[in-house]
Subunit: 284 residues, 4 copies
């Protein structure tokens, strides 16, 4: 049976839910999940709906066209249909830290992530053996002040060659260029090793240690041009105390980084995250 | 503007959401919250909907009758309309522990609970001064093996006299009688000082200490005839370690009991909890 | 039996623990708790020790003098002996928010805090009825830009009159003057309604909502001249999501504020917190 | 510089700490960590001490003999000296679940665990490719009702051949025999996928789902002859709700199992866990 995920957002208006659910009934869909949210401040309506199309004789394209020309037009919706059959294709960007890489590849091998990982891109050669161990093509794309344009060009070539749909920065230690951000708007996921907006930028564990906080955190977010300012997908925290050294902070933080990034990848790849005005709506 | 909360559950069927939302549109309601859940195993559909009725000229009773004779009948729904104007009336049952009582009365005084607390019933006289301090009628209803029937009779009289809609056992140390449970089915909230189903019954902190657990908990649940086996509304936990004595467990547990019970009261009084087959659906 | 708590900090050196524990053995003390910490970066040693003095014929003063003239001098210690018999005297500063006030007074009445609360000081009159309800003297000390000096003078007079040993700002909405801070160095506890250093200053829940965080927090800290920059005693967090409004943030935050402030009060009053260089050592 | 970890437990008596710290001073050790605990109920004293021996000319063996013949004898201590230079050797027992295996091997490869993993033993052949991928010898030791003795014999042979010091059951789905438990007393770590003592035995996620709990957990513990009754090392939990299916419980639980087991391995391998009377003292 064909499973479809439908994401919608539009100006909040009367009758949207009734219209959409009526539409699904009409095309012989069985709604297996529906959730919606109204951002009262912005007056925006969000909906996520999963449906099984029980009548195989109605082509998906005609459903889409029908939706587009009726409801989507009437309510001026931004919308997307995703078929469960098409797996998202994720590119991994890494530098020298290996813990998130091991974790993601382990989860992928264990069947926890319903995605493809066609390639790994790194500005260093250090982690190639891990890519080899998991049989994933590894591309060394150096990226420095001096070769920015060339590096960016090579990155984009590779992403297009492999038809990548979203990018994960698994502790990638380089700025992403505005051009790449624009190409993958709200499709580049970063893990920052602090409880944002506390301690943005470099060396957050050192700053947290210096400030004497009792809790440290990690934050996964979409990359925007403003460093560590993009829409937050997921955060988590763990307790620390005076007995913990900076090294302890870093070690405890690794567990946070792993978990928070893995959750963000899972949420994004299952089309559970919508972005509006630098905030996310996450339908669990 | 009249605000209505609608709770529904029925056999899962096609078209329920569309039917209900169409109905709300028809009676000129503005949906401000809607959430639903399908229990796939039991094939049961649950919905919670909040609406503002914008047309004051349509009487609430006619809306109810209309709903009853059309949708509710068609889908064989169990359903309830609650008007925000009618505050739930809560009876507090206590014995000798005062921490939950202080917490609930403090929250109520601080305006956090949109309920009335017309009376406190206790099998001991000890906490009367607190009731006096907060100006709430206090009834001493002794309850022992020997006066069970009399005690139950007096409890029920008082509950009816004050038109009580739900009961909270704030560390009330007596069994509730089957008759009272039947009268207030899924309307008596207990706080048990363990992470159920671990450590049911008496002295859970002592058992937890003996077992050497690293985490203790508290559980709020509706009272059923099976002790500590009723539908769970809310749970929370806190860490303990070898340095903690039983007294520490009890002290840390008090904070859990307060918080978990307060959340359950809030959820119940805002009509966010539905019960089906000894489990709850909690719409946050 | 006399119970003594001993707090020590000094430059880290060989033999401190042995010297101190030998001393306690010599004065016939039974060590019931000992914990220590070395701040490796700063090279500072911290110790907290609880002892029962089993020989009533040795006067406490002679023990103190002995300690001062031998170990304390040899190791150039900062140190304090606290007798369990002397309860700390806490002044509560409040403005208009009542939830922390209810919580603290409820806990105190329930016997959870081993302190005295001789008075409440407020820049508004609103919360006087709560003080009356709990039978605690309430002083209205207006505090504005124009009467700063007069207000500060009155505050200090009252604190001295009641021999106050520490101050708790239970959502007190006024700046504390440098003079008062100097008089009660590391003895004024504030509760800030964010996960510091995120969102210092005014309206943190609004800022958190705007940023789209997935977790909110509260922080209790000692007041220093730099706003919200003092040594952190305790922090805690709770999850939020897109479904939560600013009002929900505020409501969930109230529970955090209550709990985090209560823990800080308990830790401070039990002499479990030591401060060094804007960070705390908290011996649980 | 030689680093030594010293673990001690004995009947609580006056003067232990002074005696031990004096001893360390005498052998020119620099104490870098010391923690102790008194189990008041059982009247047992526990201590963990890390020291750097600054004088290389004093042989470790003479220190040990000295300790044994003086303090250890005087206080009738159970004690152990561990040198940081000798890494613990861990055997992994697995069956068919791969997530804990990937996690542990990933962490080990990433340098987070200061241990050796000389072999993996499994009653199934399924996970051999993962062992191969990480270059760790894999032994298929079938284990059924009918070959119990033979299987146990083979397990013990392998453990002795590789000089294994502790065993980790990474979701190993077979009972460990009493003989093996006796050989590795408090040295076999299991991960149970519930918040023990809730839901011991088989299919805990199914039982948790049926009970309608709002929180699920995982527990790492030492294996004893009583199933799921051994000393608890670490526990953690995560929230669930009515929207979660059994499959969601299992998926969320995998993250708990990974994290809780990894923490237990780290604590055990760093000699931070002591066991007494079916409870653990965990020195963080």
């Amino acid at each position: 049976m064909r499973k479809i995920t439908l994401l919608i957002h539009c100006k909040d208006q009367k009758g949207i839910i009734a219209a959409v659910t009526n539409f699904i009934v009409k095309v012989e869909g069985n709604i297996i999940y529906i959730d919606q949210h109204v951002d009262v401040e912005q007056n925006v309506f969000f909906m996520r709906l999963e449906t099984e199309l029980t009548n195989a004789s109605i082509p998906l394209d005609s459903i889409k066209t029908n939706f587009e020309q009726t409801i989507a037009r009437d309510f001026q919706m931004s919308w997307d249909f995703y078929s469960k059959e098409t797996k998202p294709k994720m590119a991994l960007f890494v530098s020298k830290y290996n813990h998130c890489l091991f974790d993601i590849l382990g989860r992928h091998s264990a069947g926890e992530l319903d995605i493809e990982i066609p390639l790994i891109i790194s500005n260093h050669i250090d982690l190639k053996p891990i890519a080899d161990q998991f049989n994933i093509p590894f591309y060394h794309v150096p990226f420095t002040k001096d070769n920015k344009e060339e590096g960016e060009k090579r990155q984009i070539e590779l992403l297009q060659q492999y038809q990548i749909t979203f990018i994960v920065l698994a502790r990638y230690m380089q700025i992403i260029t505005p051009k790449l951000i624009a190409l993958y708007k709200n499709k580049i996921i970063n893990i920052h090793h602090s409880f944002l907006p506390a301690f943005p930028g470099a060396k957050p564990y050192h700053s947290a240690f210096k400030r004497g906080v009792k809790i440290i955190g990690a934050t996964s977010h979409y990359v925007t041009e403003e460093l560590d300012e993009g829409p937050i997908i997921e955060q988590d925290i763990t307790r620390v105390s005076h007995i913990n050294s900076i090294e302890d902070f870093i070690m405890k933080g690794r567990d946070l980084e792993r978990t928070v990034l893995a959750r963000a990848i899972k949420l994004h790849s299952e089309r559970k995250v919508m972005v509006f005005e630098n905030k996310t709506v996450v339908f669990y």
